[in-house]
Amino acid sequence: MRRLLSSLVVFVSLISPAAAQVPFGEASTVKEGLEIGASTSEIAIASDFQGADLTIFGALTNADELFLAIGQYDVVVTLEGPKDYATVRRKERVLGIWMNTQSMTFEQVPESYSLASTRQIESIDEAPSLNNIGVGIDHLPLNPVGYIPNSGLIGEFRDAYRRLKLSNGLYQRDTNGVRFVSSSLFRASLRLPANIPDGMHMVRAYLFKSGALIAQKEMPLRVVKTGLEQAITDAAHQRPFAYGLICVLIAVITGWGASLIFRKD
């Protein structure tokens, strides 16, 4: 059963024309805002989930009509999975056999990361400032645990980490994922991979004006897996002793049962 996540409709705080709100004479100093919101803060995923699209609507408030008209506003929406340590290992040939020889553990990186933007994020802003705010797969902070003397090595392991995460679908990007449906209303399509981890995810929206980050909003989203398979996973981790006992019992019943059924008399 594929849950229609795209039906996850988001409320939008509609915008009254900027000029009407702004006190006389201060129009140019009014700061643009960004609104996003979801009809739910929890997504239940059944066990045969094959991945889905999550649509998030949002709006710019107090947007400058002129800047809107010439496309100077850019929106980036990300969905960050729960954070954990990640260890990257590299194999090398030792005496003819491939074995893991080097490893690097990165501190608290999101297990999954899906990004949608109005265009290529590198053309929205410059790399150093993206690194600073940690937006984009290539700009997520990947800090190795412990001291690594060879900085070239860190780069190689970072590249490998990003490449592996992209290839197994846990990290995704869609540079056309954010579309303006009206002059200030936008829709972001984020891809949820089939292997999305459960736990607390964070939807983050960033508003850029002429390449500078001017507003940011975030919203938690809990991903809960349901179904028999999830119940089994939970049992295996939370009640390992009982789980192991049941595994052994099934084996005993199967073995014993077979010897009763196929008993030759």
Partner: protein
């Protein structure tokens, strides 16, 4: 039809798993082995993570050993006292084995170690079995009688202290080598997911000089408890027993075994052993090739705390 394996965290074709279980069950019935040493490598070839393959393999061996042990118990070819002494060593060995297993996993060398151990054991045992069965076939062709074994002959094993009397086996033997053998097999059970019958049976016959008629039943008795214990410990420490995978394998396996036994009774012993030897060698070679070939990606990522 695909089925999702919750612990292995991947979707597999249920018919492939059923076929694998039935084929290994058939072979284990035919050759009178537990099948763990075939199921674990096959699961690894099918991209099941080795951590899960080993723990689930141990669980599967519980089922396949029970029906055999029951048959031997009914026939009176099971020495419970000898089995219990073996079991003492086996449980200790399995405990140490699971500890080593977790340690290797933290180091990131578990997959390599499992493969290496399989390559070494399978190729050694396959080669020995092949040599022995070819010799037996040649003898049968020349209609020579097999050289007489003298079961009463003593070796260094029989000079060890702490002797015990095993009535059913009709032997008087030191407990030390029995416990040591059980220990070694226990370690293999938890690291490789095998019952270890294919090593224990020859060791009991040739090293401990235990009469052949009680060897298989007694080793099966020990295997049930060591594999059951390993399943529990793996479930508790590594969370790596996949109950869905294990159940499919067990059901298919016990059914396949019944047919294997029938076919096995029609074939001649040495031909059967030669076939098994070739099979064991083939699995060993396939694993060895996997170690030497350049992997698709030399990098891998593991998520989860520093303790992974």
């Amino acid at each position: 039809m695909t089925v999702y394996l919750p612990i292995a965290e991947l979707s597999v074709n249920i018919f492939i798993i059923l076929g694998m279980g039935a084929a290994v069950g058939f072979l284990s019935g035919m050759f009178g082995v537990g099948g763990g040493f075939l199921i674990t490598p096959l699961l690894i070839f099918y991209n099941i993570p080795p951590v899960v393959a080993v723990a689930t393999g141990a669980n599967q061996v519980v089922a396949s050993s029970i029906s055999g042990a029951i048959t031997h118990f009914r026939r009176g070819t099971l020495d419970i006292k000898l089995g219990t002494v073996l079991l003492v060593g086996g449980l200790a060995g399995a405990t140490v084995g699971v500890w080593v297993f977790s340690w290797l996993r933290r180091l990131g060398q578990l997959d390599l170690f499992i493969s290496l151990l399989y390559v070494v054991l399978l190729s050694t045992i396959g080669a020995l079995m092949l040599q022995e069965s070819v010799r037996a076939m040649r003898r049968a062709k020349n209609s020579e009688s097999a050289p007489l074994k003298r079961p009463g002959q003593h070796n260094w094993v029989h000079r060890l202290p702490l002797k015990m009397r095993f009535k059913k086996s009709k032997i008087y033997l030191s407990a030390i080598p029995v416990v040591a053998l059980g220990f070694a097999i226990g370690v293999l059970t938890s690291i490789m997911g095998v019952g270890g019958g294919f090593i224990m049976v020859p060791a009991m016959i040739y090293l401990l000089r235990i009469p052949t008629n009680v060897v298989v039943g007694t080793s099966l008795f020990q295997i049930i408890f060591v594999t059951a214990y390993t399943t529990m410990v793996q479930a508790a420490t590594n969370y790596s027993v996949d109950i869905v995978l294990a159940t499919i394998l067990m059901v298919a396996g016990v059914i396949g075994a019944q047919y294997g036994v029938r076919v096995g009774q029609k074939l001649r012993g040495e031909q059967l052993r030669a076939l098994l030897a070739l099979l064991v060698l083939a699995v060993g070679i396939r694993l060895a090739v996997g170690l030497v070939l350049t992997p698709d990606d030399i990098y891998s990522v593991a998520v989860g705390g520093l303790s992974y």
